[in-house]
Structure formats: C-alpha cells, structure tokens
Symmetry: C2
Subunit: 324 residues, 2 copies
C-alpha cells in the first residue's frame, strides 16, 4: 500500500480524497489543514489533523498531495513540505513554472526527496499532448482551446464592478476557429480568436444594466479583446451555476508529414467536475512518485519525465498484454 | 547527430526516410535492402546497401529503424539485428507482443543493446492513450475505433473471391456507436457494433454481382458480423483508391470521478498517409532509443517505459518553459 496525505481541503483536496477512495493500492493517512481540524468534515470519513502535526508523519506517509493554490500557497509552502516528504502538486502559473521547478529540484535533491510539479490537465495532460504531438508531427502547429468551463479570474473581475451582486463567466471555444483548425487550415489565432466569454450577472437593486455591460465588455486584458456575451440573471441562477464545476478543452495539432500529406491529431476532455478530475490525475502521479522514490529517484519531475507505466496500478506484463 | 539506418524499404521505410529528412538532429547513414541495391531508387537521394553489408556499420549507426512486416520479417529478423544494433520496430501483432518483448529483452540485455518495440499509432500512440486514460480515470471504459482507413487483410480476402479482379475495403467507425460513447452512455459494443465495412470491387468480365456480394457479406470472421456495404466500380477506380494510404481512429474513455460526475476523454488521428505518420512516430522513438542507450540503458522498451521528453529534440528546460 502507498500511504498518502492530503494538505489543504478545498475543492481540489476533496477531489483528491474521492480519487484515493477509488484506488486499491493507496491508504489515506490523514487530511492536514490550516483550519481548526475539528471544524473540517471530510466528504468521506478520514482522520483530520492540523498541518502543524505533519512532522509526526514523516515515517508513515510516502507522498503528500498538496492541494493549495498556485498564487501564494504552493510557492510559499511546497519547499517546506518537500524537506521532509515526497510531494505532488498542481502548480499552474505557466510563466513561473521554470523557476518553481528549479528551486524545488534543488530542495528535493538536498533532502533526498522526490516531487512531481504542475500535475493536472493543463498543465499536465495537455502538456503531455503538446509535447508528444510536436515530437511525432514536427512540421505543424499546436492549438489549445479551453472550455466550456468557468474562469474564476474573470468571474472575480466582474464581481468587482460596482452594482454587481454576483457573477460567473464561462470560457467557450469558438466553433468557427475549432472547425478551421480541425480541417487543417492552420489559421493564426489569438486566444481571443479561439474563445468567447459568456457572463451571467446578478445586479444589485437599482444598478444600471447598460453601464455594467459596457464596463465588462471594455475591461482591458479580461474582456476587451474577446467576443463577450453578457446575460443578466437572478442571484439564485448564479448561485445554481456556481455549484457546477464542469470544464474541459482541446489540444489539436495540425501538420504535414510531407508536401502531399496532412494530419490532424486531437485530444479533448469533457469534465463534469474539474477538481475531481484534477484530483484523480494527482493521485495517479502520487503513485508514480511513490514508486520512483522507492527506486531511489530524487529531485523535481514533470509529466515529461515520468514513464507512463508508473501511473498505473497494473504490472508491466499486464500493461503489455492488455493495452499495447 | 544521431546516425540511423533504415532496414526495409516499402511504404513504411519511405515514410521513415521522409520523417528523418524533416529532423535537424538525425543523419541517415543508409537504406539496407534484401533486394539488389542497384534496383532501389529512394524517394530522397540516399546511400543504398545490401542488408548483408550491415555488419560494416556497427560502429557508425546508433539506431536501426526496422521497417519490415509483422507477419514474418520482424519475428524472424529483429533478434539478429539487435545483437549488433539498437533498434526500433513497429511490430503490431497484438496477441504476440508479450512473447516478442520477452525474447528481444533477453537478446538486448545479453548484447548490451536497446530496442523499442511496437512503435507507431496502434500499437503506439493509441496504447499510450489507453494506458494514460485508464490511470487517470480508473472507473470507466475504453473504446478504440479504427478508420476511416483501408484494411489490407479484408481487401485481400475480397480479392480471393472468384470473379473479383481487384478490391479495396474501408473500415469506418459507426456514427451511432461513436455518439453514444461520446455522450458517456457506456454502451457494450463488439468490434462489429463499432465499425462498418465498405468495399469497392472491380469484377472480371462476366462475373455474377449478386453472387460476389453475397460471398463477401457472408464471409465468416471478415464480414459476416459487420454491417457491410459493397460497391461495384471500375478497376481504374480501385487502382485510384489504392494510391491513397489515409487512415485514422479514436481512443475514447468514458468514466466517472464520483457518482455525480462523469468525464469523457478523447484522442483522435486523421492521417492522409498512414505509413508516413507511422514513420514519423518511429523516428521520434529512434531519437529516444539513441539517447537512452547513451545513458547506458539496455533491454526492450515499449511506449509505456519511455519518458516523453526523450522523443523531443528540445531541451528539458525548453520543454518546461514552452509546453508545460
């Protein structure tokens, strides 16, 4: 059995716990929280401890699954955990990944530990696809589409506008762009050309619809460069939509093997629950980290470094006999 | 530079040569043939040698790309080449892969060589997807669809019928089955439920259309269990169709992360030229074999064993900075 711990218990932590419960080779030693452990009721019964108690578990936990956010929690705390534990995280600030990798690689090597960083679906499975597709079809172009799914950053930006009570924003791939890419037309597309942004907004009493709509549609960086649709709905409607955490997206590579012959490679995800699926990917990589650590591997790893067989609970013989 | 050789120069060997010509880090030392080398005119100018001369190149070739067939050539000859060279092959007789792997693993280890077996898109990329999807979404079902593309075995079977001058058969995924899988309905589907078989047949003068059509549609194993469409066309038409080597297919996994939440993961290929794309995949894995061999790795490997970074000519730093 692989003994694991969960650090942080938001939506991702819950998703990780559910994914662990579906494995036969993993044992959840505990959930570690910065809140008062007595106030945390897990979705599945499990021991809950203060994160301060982690040091009592250095011998009994093989891998810690870090379920904090990428803005501050992971950059501040991963190195600290990594001094005593092997870790897996979902650090997703793309621009800061090289620096995050280098600093954790040094810490891990100094302390004889192993970590897998930036695990999930983007970065994660989408990164695998971009890298694999580019290697097998070098003369071509990559396209990544996101959605349909909620963008928390864009939803937050709308909620900061005066007169907005609550709001949710969906990023949606544009059909026209998607079809052009799938046809192998190799269009040049900005993020704005590839996606539209659909907003559902509940207003405060007496707020000015037209003014709010204009504030959204002209907001630089967030909406100004996009086709943006604004729908005004009741607060109940927004709250109902906020219950659903569905997401998805596509990675498509279109290219040529010769002047005469073109190919299209496509990978897509349709997820009812973004945090549950991301949690399930983290759990598969926790299995890999545990196995690689037992083989003596130390340092930081990404999805590019880990042979896929390590993600599976099946033996290498079984993989070859049944899936090759 | 990685120095490579091609053994066998049918459609796959040509595809491999074209793929090598698109790399910047590979040098084609020579094409090795069992034919008279003087009779072989490569699609791109390159040295051609008799396969008997291979032993002169043990020091100058890093990896041999074996482009023979899986029925007899690879089972008979791969072990012999592997005694002196690192190799990559596209062995695709699924049922015999475990035995093929075990015997080559022993040869490779005895001779300090490395081989990657069963490389291409199925087995190959499709195997990667089946394994990865199962690991990240364990509670679910896999579906592999092939086509639209030519089945050589089924085309041959039609050509053996009395009165048939020439024929070609396309395997085509059934839209209804595909849509049901994509909707997450988790249907139970036989290969016949997933595919239809469309045949284009040119008859000999005086042959009986109805009798031939009935012979095809009732042929056990090949057609009897499938929805089969038979079109009678001119011999020119069949010859024209035989020029196109397009193929493709899909791997879809549909499953649940919890009782409430379902996911669909999909990978698809649309290929104008099956041998050129397969060749391009072989070349990426030849790069991996060369690099892993230089690190001292010996034995047999499959797509499950090789970290994806080894397929790319880009540095690990660049991969993390640009594709993660």
């Amino acid at each position: 059995m692989i003994n694991v711990g969960i650090v942080g218990y938001g939506n991702l932590g819950k998703g990780v716990q559910i994914a662990i419960s579906k494995t036969k080779d993993m044992n959840l030693v505990g959930i570690f929280t910065r809140r008062n452990p007595n106030d945390l009721v897990p979705v599945i019964s499990a021991p809950v401890y203060s994160v301060e108690k982690l040091n009592d578990f250095t011998e009994s936990i093989d891998v810690l699954l870090l379920c904090g956010g990428s803005a501050t929690d992971l950059p501040q705390n991963t190195a600290k955990y990594l001094e005593r534990f092997n870790t897996v995280d979902s650090f997703d600030t793309h621009a800061k990944i090289p620096q995050y990798f280098d600093s954790l690689d040094a810490v891990a090597k100094n302390h004889g530990k192993l970590c897998a960083i930036s695990i999930g679906w983007d970065p994660g499975l989408f990164s695998i696809m971009r890298q694999l597709f580019g290697a097998v079809l070098p003369d071509g172009n990559d396209y990544t589409f996101w959605g349909k799914g909620v963008s928390q950053g864009h939803s937050d930006a709308i909620r900061r506008i005066n007169g907005v009570k609550n709001a949710i924003q969906y990023t949606i791939p544009k059909e026209g762009a998607l079809n052009s890419v799938r046809k192998g037309e190799n269009p040049i597309l900005s993020t704005g050309d590839k996606h539209l942004r659909e907003c559902y907004v509940a207003l405060e009493d007496g707020a000015d619809k037209e003014w709010v709509e204009n504030q959204i549609k002209t907001m630089p960086n967030y909406f100004a460069d996009y086709q943006t649709i604004v729908n005004f709905v009741s607060e109940q409607e927004v709250l109902r939509m906020q219950q659903k955490l569905s997401h998805g997206g596509l990675v498509i590579r279109s290219g040529k093997t010769s002047n005469e012959n073109a190919d299209v490679i496509e990978f897509s995800l349709k997820l009812d629950s973004n945090p549950e699926f991301t949690g399930s990917v983290l759990v598969a990589y926790a299995r890999a980290v545990s196995r690689l650590a037992k083989e003596g591997k130390v340092g930081a790893l990404t999805v590019f470094d880990i042979p896929l067989k390590y993600l599976s609970p099946l033996s290498n013989d079984t993989l070859r006999a049944t899936l090759l």
